[in-house]
């Protein structure tokens, strides 16, 4: 096939790379735009208004009042919600990465039945978060649950995990780590599987330490997939709702009230402050965007550097 021929050919029958890119990306973009444009703009509009879905009156434009209230009013305690969410996100994602990565390292070499074991370890992730919240509430119950019976020598004198202001958040973190470490594990496992053996063999010949091997071979090779895992877990942690609602509902007081729970409380549960909750949602969105942007940038720099 001559060169000229190919060009002419691809013009008619074969798609050019640019076209293919467009055709491949378009369906995704169109669907996402269609599904998101109305909700996004509508709630953006509502965030500048005083509006309640249960009120039979149209939204009243109040410009930035909602945002001012969220960011400045001390008694509204929105900062408390952000702190709780931040703590929750950092600890639960951090622990998930540690546990998930360790599990992946343990599971990278296959042994008899490792496939089944891996599937079994994945089970917590497959459960519905609402049911998980409900059941762990029963499991954490100091008198009806098994958690204290496993952890303490004297279960009746054990902590009331969900009633204690400090422990309640840790209880949620424990459940989240239990549930989502397998997710990190599976992605790490895929990353580990992609590392060619010759890299280790070469390192062994160079008498490189295992720490060196881990830092220079294992970690960089797993990083791309681990990054995606961390990114998505962080986003999910900022949105944490089902689990928190099922386990504590934000209690005791508002000690475990994450932003999402607070949002729910403002937007539903009798209050129905649709305007204010939309504003809060946008503040959350901006924070998530900022955090993930910083994160992606530092990663890109790391990869290039």
């Amino acid at each position: 096939m001559s060169h000229v021929n190919t060009q002419a050919f691809s013009g008619r029958r074969h798609l050019s790379d640019g076209r293919i890119a467009t055709f491949f990306i378009m369906p995704t973009l169109v669907l996402l735009i269609l599904m998101n444009v109305f909700p996004l703009f509508y709630s953006l509009y509502l965030s500048f208004t005083d509006y309640s879905v249960i009120a039979n009156e149209s939204p009243e434009w109040i410009a930035l009042d909602n945002f001012e209230k969220i960011l400045t009013t001390e008694r509204s305690r929105y900062w408390h919600n952000f702190t709780v969410t931040g703590q929750y996100a950092v600890f639960s994602v951090g622990l998930q990465v540690i546990v998930g990565f360790s599990l992946a390292l343990l599971l990278r070499e296959k042994f008899k039945g490792s496939g089944i074991i891996t599937t079994l370890i994945l089970i917590p992730m497959m459960l519905s978060p609402v049911v998980v919240g409900l059941f762990w509430k029963l499991i954490f119950d100091p008198s009806k649950g098994i958690f204290n019976h496993i952890i303490y020598m004297n279960p009746t004198a054990g902590d009331q995990w969900l009633a204690n202001s400090t422990l309640a958040l840790w209880a949620i973190i424990i459940v989240d780590v239990w549930m989502w470490s397998p997710f990190v594990m599976l992605l790490c496992l895929s990353g580990l599987g992609a590392i060619p053996d010759y890299l280790y063999e070469a390192a062994a010949i160079d008498r490189a330490s295992s720490w060196f091997q881990f830092r220079r071979i294992t970690l960089p090779q797993v990083m791309p997939l681990l990054t995606i895992a961390i990114l998505f877990r962080t986003i999910e942690a900022f949105k944490a709702f089902d689990l928190v609602m099922g386990l504590t509902g934000g209690t005791p007081g508002d000690a475990t009230e994450t932003v999402s729970v607070r949002l729910y409380r403002e937007a539903f549960l009798g209050k129905f402050k649709t305007g204010e909750s939309s504003a809060l949602a946008y503040v959350v969105l901006i924070i998530i965007i900022a955090v993930s942007n910083l994160y992606i940038r530092s990663l890109n720099r790391m990869r290039e550097g």
């Binding site: 973009l29 249960i54 009746t156 009331q160 509902g249």
Partner: protein, 445 residues
Amino acid sequence: MLKKSASLFILIAMALTLVGGVTAAPPVQEVDELVILWAEWDPANYLQEIGNRYEAETGIKVNVIQEPWGSFYDRMAAEWAAQGDSYDMVVGDSQWVGQGATQGHYVDLTDFMLESGIKDSVTPATLQFYGEYPAASGRYYAYPTEGDAVGWAYRKDLFEDPTNMEEFEAQYGYPLAPPDNWMQLRDIAEFFTRPDDNLYGVGVYTQIDYDGLTMGFENVLFSWGAGWQDENNQVLGVVNSDAAIEALEFYKGLYQFAPPGTNNAFYAEMNDVFINGQTAMIMNYFAFFPALANPGINPYADVTGFFPGPAGPNGDRYVALGGQGLSVLSYISDERKQASMDFVEWFASTAVQEQWAEVGGYTCNIEVLESEAFLTNTAYNPAFADSMTFVKDFWNIPEFGELLEPVQRYLHAYVVGGEGTAKEALDNTAIEQYEILVDAGVLTE
């Protein structure tokens, strides 16, 4: 190229979402089905049974849609926001009446209730709390359908055990029996709290979602002679009055005798800690007592007794109201409104109310409530009929949800979290409620 077509698609998408709003109005047709929205629980099954009898009589199908309790209110609110006609009627919470009435979601039933004589067929207290808005205005928006209040269940075997009776009398100086007042209830709770035997005195509501804790605390608050507002709707100095502070301290005192794990507990958890034999007395809505009287569910069913809420230090006696009224939604066609009202009229007749009580519904019909058949039907019906004469409720103005939220938050932090004092909790609650009421125009600064 990509960019251009992307922006084009955005435009099309926006246009679509805007234009999509044009939908055809439903054609006028004969009503052959009535759809009623209610929460997912047994009484809704009973209503479906009654509805089936209506279909047999008139040929109009009655469909009771059951939505889980957790999302019942959200679903109704979404439907209101859309001004949708998916449901003809709703058996809505007593506190929704204000929203339904002022925002025009509910049909004004005043004339209908007066003309058909329904108004006088139910007890005045239930009509006032389930149907009337604003208070004492004589405007009605709902037919009291499922009466409910907070009552008490107790373990007769523990109360009637000779050793317990002897020890109790020696310790407190009066005989052990279902309490007449809150101080006795506290003594009994203290007496039965024996962590070494895994036995606890009392189960009380503490849940933070929606209204759980408030519905429990209210019983004490009202019985202490305090309330959520005075006659001028003032909250400052009312919510945080000395009596209210004392009541809150008392409620926290009761929580000390509650089984561990009931730190975020409502009706389901109350029944759980009773069924597993951990608790001597529990508070709960009457609607959840059938399970306790059922030996297949509750191993202690044979030795379970019931009593109505006790009196306060000055003899005031009130219990928190639960329950729902049947309202007609205003976004349906006139034909369907008429058909719905026909159903309400049929349902409200004494004959049908008798059936309603018989299948398990908590009727509000005066005649049925007083009838011998009702009082002897179950072990808890006498306590129920008694309670319905001294019920009291939280705010039912459209802002009730906002008013509820600070109560729930501060009280939970104090009662369960042990933060601060009762005075601080109620002071903060009063200030926040005051601000909400000023914003709403109920109070002037």
